[in-house]
Point group: C2
Chain length 113, copies 2
DNA sequence: AGTATTTCCTACTAAAAAGTAGAACAAATA
DNA sequence: TATTTGTTCTACTTTTTAGTAGGAAATACT
């Protein structure tokens, strides 16, 4: 099995997919990224990253149904896999652990049950 | 000014420098990395990463004094700059914010004052 | 049928991060 | 002074991540 690490951008996208739930399709993810970070991102970059995340087994996807909106292709809806969720948890736990050891941060209360 | 982002490994090393305080020299950082992650790392990788962090202005360093130990070259001691600390805070705040929006994580109490 | 709209997709490129190899240095001990 | 130990340092390569450009679908409206 490959040493599957998560880049910064990848991790954020993975989380955004989790946050968006049913609405997690690439255009929306890109929009959400921009609104949450104030950083611009190209749709292609989002696309290739979601692909990579799927290859790594952190995401899976299926085509959604057509909606009653103006027009447009069907959406591909992404969902986090168990492995993706585990990766996020591991990453979070590790970070929280480091923060709590860093004196300048250690005042915060870190409580994840 | 450049868009100075932090890679995953970079961020961890930066934090380790903060955690190690006076003891933050590259060999020690490498050791600490291995003990905290159970992942092996080469000293050279640590070195080039610390260099990069210094170039980015997140770390600064100076040579320490010789110690009374067995032998060995003087250590280069790293310290986090204000900018480095800000980068860590920004990264932390952003992550905490995303986690709290992710239903699967939102049960945790996130309290950083 | 034609057009506008929304979204996907792929192949490619660029940039950045991570890792390697191996030499060089400084100090203490023998 | 030779050896051992602990450590730095640099140039380079590899791998991974991020970003670009532009075309292709699919759907609804007219």
């Amino acid at each position: 099995m490959k040493e599957t690490k998560l880049g910064e951008f990848e991790e954020v996208l993975l989380l955004l997919v989790g946050i968006l739930g049913e609405e997690a399709y690439s255009f929306k993810v890109a929009e959400e990224f921009e609104s949450q970070t104030k950083r611009e991102v190209s749709i292609g970059a989002v696309h290739s990253t979601l692909n990579r995340l799927e290859e790594k087994g952190f995401l899976e996807s299926e085509m959604g149904q057509a909606t009653a909106e103006r027009g447009g292709r069907r959406k591909r809806i992404y969902t986090i896999t168990a492995s993706g969720q585990r990766a996020l948890e591991t990453s979070r736990d590790f970070r929280v652990s480091l923060w709590s050891q860093f004196p300048a941060f250690a005042t915060g209360k870190l409580n994840f049950d």
